[in-house]
């Protein structure tokens, strides 16, 4: 009990446990082993990916941790193909912003095989990728693009919010027979949490009710879950009792838990770091408006980034990311609303 490790270590541990358990699991990506200079196993696997998530795996599994060229369209295609041929590849696509060059492999190939071959083909590939603003990495390395993948039937999309969730959801992703886009927020890698040592799975499509409350439902995704928790603590001081729901996966989405909660609280605030148009926030907002309209005591509030690219200026980037105060304000708008 109470073994604290980081989000980064939790992901690394999930990979190591699954590689030990199942020889068909392989890891591939840019500098996952050690880059072009990698020599003998265990000695030069210094990088373990650009932020060190796969560090140490090359030493233990020298034949199953593969460095790839800087060609996402090639190695994501290779991973998808290997999955159809019996392996369980975990491909690391460094920044989610680079996904554009390999959309065909993901959207039109991996997502479709199960359906086009009458259920006879499976594609157990995991694409791990970093998303999110806050690292001063500007417009081309900071986007929150999980809504794009959520839109495509046949893909499963995972947005873990803390170390415990990251480990259990990644193990589920690796064991899952469908293609999974596993979205890791770069600002969470150093987050510490209580994580069991052994392997465990968190099922997809089952939201986590992070906090019970009766006055307002806050649905928050990824990094925004801890922001919502901070906001809820602040709101508790003013007599507003917020329920917080972390959907864990945007596809499949546990709408049942969200609707059940809104039917009790009558108010919904959705917090999503992505741009607002066609976002998961707007999707959840629409679902609740369709299915629980009668329960709403106030208009649904959505807290997102603005509809702009992520700014390069530090000051503007900080303003761009939804803040705890933004969440508190949205909740107050909902609770103060009068017809």
């Amino acid at each position: 009990m109470a073994r604290m490790i980081s989000y980064r270590e939790a992901i690394n541990e999930a990979l190591a446990l699954e590689m030990r358990r199942d020889p068909s699991v392989i890891v591939m990506g840019e500098d996952n082993a050690g880059g072009a200079s990698a020599g003998s196993p265990g000695e030069e696997d210094a990088w373990g990916g650009v932020l060190g998530v796969t560090k140490g795996l090359y030493g233990e599994f020298p034949d199953r941790v593969l460095d790839t060229p800087i060609s996402e369209s090639a190695f994501i295609g290779a991973a998808v193909g290997a999955a159809t041929a019996g392996l369980r590849p975990v491909a690391e696509l460094m920044f989610i912003d680079f996904m554009g060059v390999c959309f065909d492999q993901i959207f039109n190939q991996a997502a479709k095989f199960r359906y086009m071959f009458g259920g006879k083909a499976v594609t157990p590939v995991v694409i791990r990728t970093m998303y999110g603003a806050g690292l001063r990495a500007a417009a081309q390395h900071s986007q929150v693009l999980y809504p794009l993948f959520t839109h495509i039937p046949g893909l499963k999309v995972v947005v873990p919010s803390n170390p415990y969730e990251a480990k259990g959801l990644l193990i589920q992703a690796i064991r899952d027979d469908d293609p999974v886009i596993f979205c890791e927020h770069k600002a969470l890698y150093d987050m510490q949490g209580d994580v069991p040592e052994g392997a465990y799975v968190i099922p997809f499509g089952e939201a986590n009710v992070v906090r019970d409350g009766d006055d307002v439902t806050i649905v928050a995704l990824g990094r925004m879950v801890s922001y919502a928790s901070e906001a809820a603590e602040e709101l508790a001081g003013t007599g507003v009792d917020a329920e917080i729901i972390d959907p864990r996966t945007t596809s499949p989405l546990d709408t049942e838990t969200i609707i059940e909660s809104v039917e009790r609280t009558g108010r919904l605030v959705v917090v999503d770091e992505s741009n607002p148009r066609c976002s998961v926030a707007r999707d959840i907002s629409a679902i609740v408006a369709e299915e629980a309209f009668g329960a709403l005591k106030a208009p649904i509030q959505v807290v997102t980034a603005p509809h702009t690219p992520v700014p390069f200026s530090d000051v503007l980037e900080d303003l761009y990311i939804p803040s705890t105060q933004d969440i508190v304000n949205a909740v107050k708008t909902a609770t103060d609303w009068k017809r």
């Binding site: 009990m1 415990y164 209580d194 069991p196 392997a199 465990y200 799975v201 099922p203 009710v209 838990t257």
Partner: protein, 377 residues
């Protein structure tokens, strides 16, 4: 100063770092005996009453209501009436300053570790430093942390180990054929591995049946038995609860079953359900819970029968049973009367050791004290 007893925030479970006083049950100036409930404490896991560590007058309430207090920090002062006010004021000031500075030495906490028995790792948490050995054995789906209210008070007089049975907590999840023998051998093997010649066993529910089987199989190793709502001494068992617990795949499915565990259903907290789901999601737990379920149930009746084993033992036996037990009902206690001293506890369900821990502590103490001293070999 030496006549003043500092009542400190207890450590109820491995992960507890702070607690809050939610209600004073004794006012300043009132006289108390050791074991009286002094105040209610809420942790992030569970709420419970803290018993007085000594007799005397409650001279000061140090902690404010709802103030977070670190484990080990002083929350109240007890002293005989004749200790002068100035001394109490001084001690209160020191305690308050320490609390405000947050300068509390982290209490050592339990010693935790694992030993290997029959190829399986068995996890344990040990509290106390001397006295007779006591080993606490949890029930189906439980773990060593379920003894949080019992292990600490017992550890002031005894050396108390709480263990995780195979399939549970941090022990190896494989339970072999899931038979009682596998579990009983894990307990006796644990004693041997730790060099404990003879121990007093305390078992709850399935752990009660395990303790009985261990005592029957290895009479020289077991000094006494304290059984809390033991499974298998009679035929009645709540099969729906057991199946529901084994099958639940989410917190939403699990939570309704958990209210069956307590007389006070509000104790079936979401934290408890979350912790249990974290356990149920571990690899191998599904298989072990199902294997043990096949042992525990024969249709809708108890699938094990340990009353004959209990009759074959010669050690002191104490039984504690919550009158509101909805999992292994107290009706099973009939027929035990000539073999054991049965304490019926009002206001407790199946988890008597969580709802009325003082009754369990008294029963264990009584069993230990009733045990004849070990003959020198």
């Amino acid at each position: 100063m030496s006549d003043i007893t500092n009542v400190v925030m207890p450590k109820w479970g491995l992960s507890m770092t702070t607690g809050r006083v939610t209600e004073w049950l004794v006012e300043e100036g009132e006289e108390v005996s050791a074991g009286d409930d002094l105040l209610e404490i809420d942790t992030d896991k569970i709420a419970g009453a803290l018993e007085s560590p000594a007799g005397g007058v409650l001279r000061r309430q140090i902690a404010e209501l709802d103030e977070p207090v670190p484990v080990g920090a002083t929350i109240a002062l007890l002293a005989p009436a004749e200790v002068p006010e100035e001394e109490i004021d001084q001690a209160a000031k020191a305690a308050r300053e320490q609390l405000e500075a947050g300068a509390v030495e982290e209490s050592a906490g339990p010693e935790i570790g694992k030993v290997t028995v029959d190829g399986r790792e068995i996890a344990y948490a040990r509290m106390g430093s001397e006295g007779e050995h006591i080993v606490l054995v949890h029930g189906y789906g439980g773990d060593k942390n379920s003894w949080l209210f019992v292990q600490e008070p017992l550890s002031s007089s005894y050396l108390v180990d709480a263990i995780d049975l195979p399939g549970h907590g941090e022990s190896t999840k494989d339970v072999g054929d899931g038979s009682l023998d596998v579990l009983a051998q894990a307990v006796t093997g644990y004693l041997a591995e730790r060099g404990i010649e003879r121990a007093h066993l305390v078992g709850h529910s399935l752990g009660g049946a395990v303790a009985i089987a261990a005592a029957a199989a290895a009479p020289a190793q077991v000094a006494s038995l304290t059984l809390i709502a033991p499974a298998g001494v009679g035929p009645d068992i709540n099969a729906d609860y057991l199946r529901g617990f084994a099958q639940a795949q989410s917190r939403r499915e699990l939570q309704p079953h958990l209210t069956a565990l307590f007389a006070d259903p509000s104790l079936a907290t979401r934290q408890l359900a979350d912790d249990l789901m974290k356990y149920k999601r571990l690899d191998g737990v599904d298989a072990s819970l199902n294997a043990l379920l096949a042992t525990l149930l024969d249709g809708d009746r108890a699938g094990i029968e340990v009353a004959p084993l209990l009759s074959s033992t010669r050690v002191p036996v104490r039984v504690v049973w919550g009158e509101a037990d909805a999992v292994v009902p107290i009706s099973n206690a009939e027929g035990l009367a000539d073999r054991a001293d049965v304490t019926r506890v009002p206001d407790a369900g199946h988890m008597a050791h969580m709802e009325q821990p003082s009754a369990v502590v008294r029963a264990v103490t009584s069993a230990v004290e009733a045990t004849p001293a070990q003959q020198p070999a």
